[in-house]
C-alpha cells in the first residue's frame, strides 16, 4: 500500500536522491566541460576574437586564414607523417614483441618491465633524453664519427627535412611498450585450443598468426588503434621539449599551433579554428568506433 503511494508521488526527482547528488560532478564534467566547452570553442571559431573572445562573426575567415598559413600546412603534414609511421611501427614492433613474449619464455616479467618503463616517463623527459642522444656534436653522430666513419651524418634534429623523424624515434621509444602490453593481453585471451587445432592441421606458426590469431584479435586492435591514434593527434609536449617546433617551423604540430595562437600570439580566433580542426580529425577516428562500441551494445 505504501509502495503504491510512493509510486504515485508526483516528485520523482527526489527518488534515488543521493545517487543524483553523487553524480553531479560527472554530469557537470560531461555537459558543462566536455559538451559546453566544445560547443563554445567551435562557436567562437567563427568570430574575429583576438585578445579576448568577441562575438563578431566573420564566417569562415579564420579557417581560410588557417589553411593559408604555411605553419599550419607544415603542422598538418608533420602530423600525417608522424601519425602514419607511429601507427605502423608501434603496431608492427608492438605485436612482434608481444608474440615473442607469448612463447612461454623465461624472464618474461623482466622483459616486460624493460619494454614498458619509458611509458611511465613524461613526454618532456622523453623529448629531452632524445634531444641529447641525437645531439650532433655529442650524440650518436659524434660517436659513430669518432669510431672512424668520419662522413657519417645522422642529424635529424637540426635538419628541416627529417626533423619529424627525430621526434618519431623518441615517440616510438616511449609508446611501443604500451602497444606491446595491450597486444600481449590480447594474445593471452586466445584459446589454447586454437593453437592445437592449427598444429593438427600443420599450419606454420607465422601463417597461424597472420591468418587466424590477428583476425581473432580484431577488438584488441581496434581499441589499441583508438588509444594510440587519439594520443597521436594530441602530440604536443614531446615536440616542445625535443625541438620547440624547430629548426624554423619544420617540426610544428597542430596542438602546438593552438597553444601558441591562444596564449602567446593572442590571436584566439586562430587558436579556436585550429582546435576545431583537431576536433574534426579526432571525430573521424572516434565516431565510427563509438558507433560500434555503444551502438552495437544496445542491439546485442
Amino acid at each position: 500500500m505504501t509502495d503504491y503511494q510512493v509510486v504515485r508521488r508526483p516528485n520523482t526527482l527526489l527518488r534515488n536522491l543521493n545517487s543524483k547528488i553523487a553524480s553531479i560532478p560527472m554530469i557537470l564534467t560531461a555537459l558543462v566541460v566536455f559538451v559546453g566547452g566544445t560547443v563554445w570553442t567551435v562557436f567562437y571559431s567563427f568570430t574575429n576574437s583576438k585578445l579576448l573572445p568577441r562575438s563578431v562573426f566573420v564566417g569562415f575567415d579564420q579557417y581560410e586564414r588557417l589553411w593559408a598559413s604555411e605553419r599550419w600546412i607544415v603542422s598538418i603534414q608533420n602530423l600525417a607523417i608522424y601519425g602514419f609511421f607511429a601507427l605502423i611501427f608501434s603496431f608492427v614492433v608492438g605485436f612482434v614483441l608481444a608474440a615473442f613474449m607469448d612463447q612461454k619464455i623465461r624472464f618474461e616479467s623482466v622483459f616486460r618491465t624493460i619494454f614498458l618503463y619509458p611509458f611511465a616517463l613524461s613526454f618532456i623527459v622523453t623529448g629531452l633524453v632524445w634531444q641529447w642522444l641525437l645531439n650532433p656534436d655529442f650524440g650518436v653522430q659524434h660517436v659513430v664519427r669518432s669510431l672512424g666513419w668520419t662522413g657519417f651524418t645522422f642529424d635529424p634534429l637540426y635538419t628541416q627535412s627529417i626533423v619529424i623523424y627525430g621526434v618519431l624515434i623518441a615517440a616510438l621509444w616511449q609508446g611501443t611498450g604500451l602497444v606491446m602490453v595491450l597486444m600481449l593481453a590480447g594474445l593471452r585471451g586466445i584459446d589454447e585450443d586454437i593453437w592445437k587445432a592449427s598444429r593438427v592441421d600443420g599450419i606454420p606458426m607465422v601463417k597461424t598468426y597472420l591468418l587466424i590469431i590477428i583476425p581473432m584479435m580484431r577488438p584488441v586492435f581496434i581499441t589499441t588503434l583508438v588509444i594510440v591514434a587519439s594520443g597521436i593527434v594530441k602530440v604536443y609536449d614531446l615536440v616542445v621539449a625535443q625541438t620547440s617546433g624547430g629548426p624554423g617551423i619544420a617540426s610544428e604540430v597542430p596542438a602546438k599551433y593552438v597553444y601558441d595562437y591562444m596564449f602567446q600570439a593572442q590571436n584566439l580566433g586562430q587558436g579556436f579554428a585550429a582546435s576545431t580542426m583537431m576536433l574534426i580529425t579526432i571525430s573521424i577516428i572516434i565516431i565510427p568506433w563509438a558507433y560500434l562500441e555503444f551502438g552495437g551494445k544496445k542491439r546485442g
Binding site: 632524445w130 642522444l133 655529442f138
Partner: protein
C-alpha cells in the same frame, strides 16, 4: 623461419596441457641453444638494450663533468664520478626567472599531485559506485558522453575552462590546476570504478540494503574497504599522469607555481648561458624519478592500470 622448431614448441605446449591427465608434467625438455631460442632471446635482448640505452646515457652523462663530456663519447662510463650536476640541478639551475633549481618545481608538483589524486579518486569512485549500483534514468547517457569526451583534444576545452576559472578567481593558482586535473581524470577513473563495482557480487549490495544501509553507508563501510586494489590502480594512473602533465601546468598556473615538468623544460631549453648537459640530464632524471619509482614498485598493478584504459565501457 624454423617451422620445425615452432611446431615442436606447439607440440610441447600441447603435451604440457595433456600432461595434467597422465604421464610426466611440464614442458618437454628442449635444447638450450636451438635456432628458435637464439632468434627469440636474441631479438628480445636487442630490443631490451635499445630500450635501456637512453636511461643508461642519462645516468652516465649526469655523473660526468663538463670537460669529460666534451672530450669523450656519450656511451662511455664516467672516468671520475661527480655528483655536482645533481646538486646543481636540484638547487641552483636557472630558469629564465630564478636560480633555485628544480626543488621549487618538485615542491609544486607535490602540492599539485597529492590533492589532485585524492580528490579525483574520491569523486570518481563515488560516481562509479552510483553508476554501478544506484542507476537512475539518463545516467548512462551522461556516462557515455563522459567517456567519449575523454577523446576530445584538450586544446578544444582549454580556453572555456580558463574563462570559468578566471570568473571564479582561481585561474593561475594551484587550486585551479587541481580542479582541472580532477575534471580530466574523471572519464578514465569513473570507467575503472564503475567496471570494478559492477563486478562485485550483487547479493552483497542487496544484503546491505535489506539491513537498512543507505547510499553513503554502503559506500564507506562495504564498497570502500573491499576495493583497495582498485584504489591502488587508480592512484598509479593518477600519480604518473598528473606528475607527467605539462600542458595543464603551463596553461593553468603562474610561473611561481609551475610543476616540475614545466620547470625542467625551461631549465634545459633556456637559451641563455652555456649548456650544461650533465646538469640537464641530472634534472631530467630527477623529474622522471617519481613515476619511475611508482612504476617499478607497482609492477603488475601498473599494467592493470593501462589495461583499464583499454577495457570496453
Amino acid at each position: 623461419m624454423a617451422d620445425q622448431a615452432t611446431l615442436n614448441t606447439v607440440a610441447a605446449a600441447a603435451d604440457a596441457s595433456r600432461g595434467s591427465l597422465s604421464g610426466p608434467r611440464g614442458n618437454r625438455p628442449r635444447p638450450l641453444f636451438s635456432t628458435r631460442n637464439i632468434v627469440l632471446y636474441g631479438t628480445l635482448t636487442l630490443a631490451a638494450i635499445y630500450y635501456l640505452v637512453p636511461l643508461y646515457v642519462m645516468v652516465v652523462t649526469s655523473l660526468k663533468s663538463m670537460p669529460e663530456i666534451r672530450m669523450g663519447n656519450i656511451f662511455s662510463p664516467p672516468v671520475e664520478i661527480t655528483f655536482e650536476p645533481w646538486v646543481k640541478a636540484w638547487a641552483q639551475a636557472c630558469t629564465g626567472l630564478n636560480c633555485d633549481g628544480l626543488s621549487r618545481g618538485f615542491g609544486n608538483s607535490i602540492r599539485i599531485t597529492i590533492p589532485s589524486v585524492i580528490i579525483s579518486i574520491l569523486i570518481a569512485s563515488i560516481n562509479g559506485y552510483a553508476l554501478a549500483n544506484w542507476r537512475f534514468k539518463g545516467m548512462e547517457t551522461f556516462f557515455t558522453v563522459l567517456v567519449i569526451g575523454a577523446f576530445i583534444p584538450y586544446q578544444v576545452m582549454i580556453y572555456p575552462i580558463v574563462i570559468v576559472l578566471r570568473e571564479i578567481g582561481i585561474y593561475g593558482t594551484l587550486s585551479g590546476l587541481i580542479v582541472v586535473h580532477t575534471i580530466f581524470g574523471m572519464p578514465i577513473l569513473t570507467l575503472l570504478f564503475r567496471n570494478y563495482f559492477a563486478s562485485l557480487p550483487e547479493e552483497l549490495f542487496k544484503a546491505a540494503r535489506v539491513d537498512g544501509a543507505g547510499f553513503w553507508n554502503i559506500y564507506f563501510r562495504i564498497m570502500l574497504p573491499m576495493s583497495l586494489p582498485i584504489f591502488v590502480v587508480a592512484m598509479i594512473i593518477q600519480i604518473t599522469g598528473i606528475w607527467n602533465d605539462f600542458l595543464f601546468g603551463v596553461v593553468f598556473t603562474r610561473p611561481e607555481y609551475y610543476p616540475m615538468t614545466v620547470q625542467l623544460n625551461n631549465i634545459v631549453n633556456s637559451v641563455q648561458g652555456v649548456k650544461e648537459y650533465n646538469v640537464n640530464m641530472a634534472a631530467t632524471i630527477l623529474t622522471g624519478l617519481v613515476p619511475l619509482i611508482v612504476y617499478f614498485v607497482s609492477g603488475k598493478l601498473f599494467v592493470r592500470g593501462i589495461a583499464a584504459g583499454a577495457v570496453k565501457g
